[in-house]
Amino acid sequence: MDIIIIEWLLLILMAIGAIVAIEVRDLLSSVIAAGIVGFSLTVVYLMLQAPDIAITQAVVETITLVMLVAVIAKTTRKGTPTPWASVAVISSLAFLLVLLFTFEFGMFALPEFGSMISRDVSEYYISHGVADTGAINLVAAVILDYRAYDTLGEAIVLFASALGVAAVLRSKVKKGGEE
C-alpha cells in the first residue's frame, strides 16, 4: 500500500479522534480519544523517519494519559455542559474556513515538502557532525552540542512544570510530608 495513503488515513483518524475528544461528554472517553491523536502522531513520526521523536511522543503520550486518567479517577468523569454550544460550533467553523482560505494562498509561498531551505546548515551537520562531536546519532549531536542551549530551555520548562505542580499542591503536600 502506498505510504501516502496510510498517512492520509492516520491524519483522518487523528481528526476524528480530536473531534470526539472535544464533543464527548464523558471525560474518560475524551482523554482516551485524545490518546488516539497522540499515538497516531507517533506512527506518523515513524513514517517520516524520525525515530527519536517517535519514541519521545509515544512515551510522553503514555505518561500524560496515565496522569489524566489518574486525575479523572480521583475527581469526576462528568464534563460540564457547554453553554452557547451551537454558537461555538458555527463560529469555529467560520474561523476554520477563513483559516483554510488564507492557508491556500500561504501554501504557495512555502517550499515543497521535504526540500531543504537551510541546505548549508544541514549539510554541515551531516558532513561534520561525527568529526565534531563523536556522536553517531546526529539528533543527539544537534540537541546536545550544536543546539544545547535550546535543550537547556526545554529542561527548564519541565523543571518549571514540576515546580508548578508542587506550588499548587504545596500546602497539602507539606501537611502530608510531616505525618
Partner: protein, 150 residues
C-alpha cells in the same frame, strides 16, 4: 491508590518494572548511538516509578523512592546539566562539546564513550526528567491520599 490494585496487576508490575527501568537506562546511556536520548529515557525511567505507585500504592512505593528524593533528583539533574555546560567556560566554550578541544581526540565514533559531553548531558537530563515525572505524580497522589484521610 492507597492500597494499590489487584493481585494480577501487582504480579505483572513486579515482573515488568525492572525491565522498564533497565530499558530507560539503556536509552539514556546510548542516546548518542541509537534513537532516543536523555528525555525519552528519563520519561521511561519515570514511568516505571509511576507504574510502581499505581500498582502497589503510595505506601509501598515511598519505601523504594520517596517524594523528597525525586524532588532532589529533579533539581540535581538540572544543576548537573548546567554545570556540564558551564564547565566549558574554563577553556572558553559554553554549551559546546569541549571534550575534543580539551583532549584533542575522540575515541572511535561507534564506541560508547565516543561523544564526550553528550553522554554526560544525556545522563543529567535523564536524571532530571526522571525526577520531574515521578515528583509530579507523587505530588498528585499525596494530595488525593490526604483528601481520603480527611
Amino acid at each position: 491508590m492507597k492500597k494499590g490494585m489487584s493481585l494480577i496487576v501487582r504480579t505483572i508490575s513486579r515482573l515488568i518494572v525492572a525491565p522498564i527501568f533497565l530499558l530507560g537506562v539503556y536509552i539514556v546511556l546510548h542516546g548518542h548511538l541509537t534513537p532516543g536520548g536523555g528525555f525519552p529515557g528519563g520519561v521511561i525511567l519515570g514511568s516505571s516509578i509511576v507504574l510502581l505507585i499505581i500498582a502497589y500504592g503510595y505506601d509501598v512505593a515511598t519505601k523504594k523512592i520517596s517524594y523528597n528524593f525525586t524532588r532532589i533528583l529533579d533539581a540535581f539533574g538540572a544543576l548537573f546539566f548546567i554545570c556540564v555546560a558551564l564547565a566549558g567556560l574554563a577553556i572558553g566554550y559554553l554549551f559546546t562539546n569541549y571534550w575534543k578541544i580539551w583532549t584533542l581526540t575522540f575515541e572511535e565514533p561507534a564506541e560508547w564513550l565516543s561523544a564526550g559531553t553528550i553522554v554526560v548531558s544525556n545522563i543529567a537530563i535523564g536524571i532530571k526528567v526522571l525526577g520531574a515525572i515521578a515528583a509530579m505524580f507523587f505530588a498528585l497522589v499525596v494530595v488525593t491520599r490526604l483528601e481520603e484521610m480527611e
